[in-house]
């Protein structure tokens, strides 16, 4: 049996395919959760940084600004390491679940916390870009109709801002899917780490007893293909939206 056939036979093993599919599911769920929570936290940060300008609320502007700048200018991996040591895991999230042991769940919660914190700082800047693009007249029009500041934000400004940043947010989903591979460094259970685990034990599955170059090509090629399919679909739709803005905005 040639080494390439042996490597390909790894992917024919139903248990391994199941293992990888679960990894893909974790990658997608993790990224979507990170982006959704990132939008929530990021919007609050962006609003604080942009509009807390009065003497009383200025402290929030400073806090938001330093949060954003600190996270944007340091690597994600540093925050993953920091969260592994310092992030407190609530009791409810430390038991075994999703077919993972409780140690793995704790790792997952800590590492995803880092991903969420990091992503929210990036999204805050995206939302701020959207907020800045809403014309000043919109605020004045809202006030003149008797809306309060919060109502103006919720009903008039934020919807317009979000609509403008949909393509950028989708691009951020791509970035987050790619960033989630950083979690492979701390052996969390998403696609990249599973492929890496498989490679180190490929000798047990490929029938040749050793890890060969073809295993690298087959396993990493498979992962690359999956990432490519997901991200290319997303980036193509972003491009389509930017080309036909009328149809969406």
């Amino acid at each position: 049996m040639s080494t390439l056939e042996g490597s390909l036979s790894i992917l024919k093993n139903p248990a391994i395919i199941m293992y990888l599919l679960k990894g893909i599911a974790f990658t997608i769920v993790l990224s979507v959760v990170a982006v959704i929570l990132g939008i929530l936290i990021g919007s609050l940060l962006a609003l604080a940084r942009n509009y807390c300008t009065s003497a009383k609320t200025r402290i929030f502007k400073w806090l938001a600004t330093s949060y954003i700048e600190i996270f944007r200018n340091t690597p994600l991996l540093l925050w993953i390491f920091i969260c592994l040591v310092f992030f407190p895991v609530p009791k409810a999230l430390s038991g075994p679940m999703f077919g993972l042991s409780s140690v793995e769940v704790k790792l997952l919660v800590k590492a995803s916390a880092a991903l969420i914190l990091f992503t929210s700082s990036v999204i805050a800047e995206i939302v701020r870009g959207g907020l800045n693009s809403v014309a000043q007249g919109q605020f004045e029009a809202g006030y003149s109709q008797g809306f309060s500041t919060i109502q103006v934000m919720i009903y008039i400004v934020l919807p317009q801002a979000y609509r403008k940043i949909i393509p950028t947010l989708l691009s951020q989903v791509i970035t987050t899917i790619k960033d989630s591979s950083y979690l492979a460094n701390v052996a969390v259970i998403e696609l990249m780490s599973r492929v890496k685990t498989l490679l180190s034990s490929a000798n047990n599955y490929n029938g040749t007893g050793t890890v060969n170059v073809s295993d690298v090509f087959v396993l990493f090629g498979f992962a690359a293909l999956i990432y490519f399919i997901i991200n290319f679909t997303l980036s193509s739709s972003v491009r389509y939206m930017q080309k036909h803005p009328r149809r969406f905005f």
Binding site: P75, L77, L78
Partner: protein, 240 residues
């Protein structure tokens, strides 16, 4: 977080300060050479994407799409393990330089492409009508105009490149993050988590913050200028 104020932990960091200096220098070296490679690739593929030759355009597109849609960590491990298992290992830092260079080269190519495409076609035609060849046209007419559009996102890419040096950890690198991690988990040095991470964070911040601030100030001033040029005729014709 109490460890951040523990004198013992800080003392440990001070004793092993060499680790951080070496890591910092490795990260800078890595980032520097990767930046040069990515600039070369970015300009090359950016020009290819805006050329009129279909074949070159497609080639540039394939490069950008493949690189941008797969994770850097995957590319790095792929190259490293493929070389290692075929017996051609070239070392961790060179592997990192090549991967980072190619990864950010794809982003630089998109930045260069957007910059060139923002120049009106009339400029290309005018240059051609004056008898400039391709190099002359690009060098004297197009690039000087597009450079101000290219620079801010390019600086942002440099910041990302510096942050991404941390991915070398997965192949056991010797960059700042990897050395910090082996420092805090090492048998004889371990435990000083808070000060070590704090120091590493500060080191990254002092390089990246000035760069990203310059980029955003630059970008904003460009935007303001655009708005002024767009608003001017409107002010004359419509009141308010």
């Amino acid at each position: 977080m109490s460890g951040l104020f523990s004198l013992d932990a800080w003392e440990k960091v001070w004793v092993f300060k060499e680790t951080f200096v070496i890591g910092f220098l490795n990260t800078i070296t890595l980032a520097f050479f990767a930046l040069i490679l990515s600039l070369i690739l970015g300009i090359l593929f950016g020009l290819m994407a805006t050329s009129e030759k279909k074949g070159l355009m497609i080639l540039g597109r394939i490069y950008v799409e493949i690189i941008q849609n797969t994770p850097l960590i995957l590319q790095l491990s792929f190259l490293y393990y493929a070389l290692a298992f075929s017996g051609n290992s070239i070392g961790i830092i060179p592997t990192g330089i090549i991967t980072l260079g190619f990864y950010h080269g794809a982003y630089m190519a998109e930045v260069v492409r957007a910059g060139i495409e923002s120049i009106p076609t009339g400029q290309f035609e005018a240059a051609q009508s004056q008898g400039f060849d391709y190099i002359g046209k690009m060098y004297y007419i197009i690039l000087p105009q597009s450079i101000k559009i290219i620079l801010p996102p390019m600086v942002n890419q440099i910041v990302n490149l510096i942050k991404n040096t941390s991915c070398l950890y997965i192949i056991g690198g010797s960059d700042l993050i990897s050395l910090t991690y082996s420092f805090v988990t090492g048998a004889s040095t371990g435990g000083a988590y808070a000060p070590a991470y704090f120091l590493t964070g500060i080191l990254f911040f002092i390089i990246c913050y000035p760069l990203s601030s310059i980029a955003s100030v630059w970008e904003n001033s460009l935007k303001m200028r655009d708005q002024k040029t767009i608003d001017l005729p409107a002010e004359g014709t419509v009141n308010g």
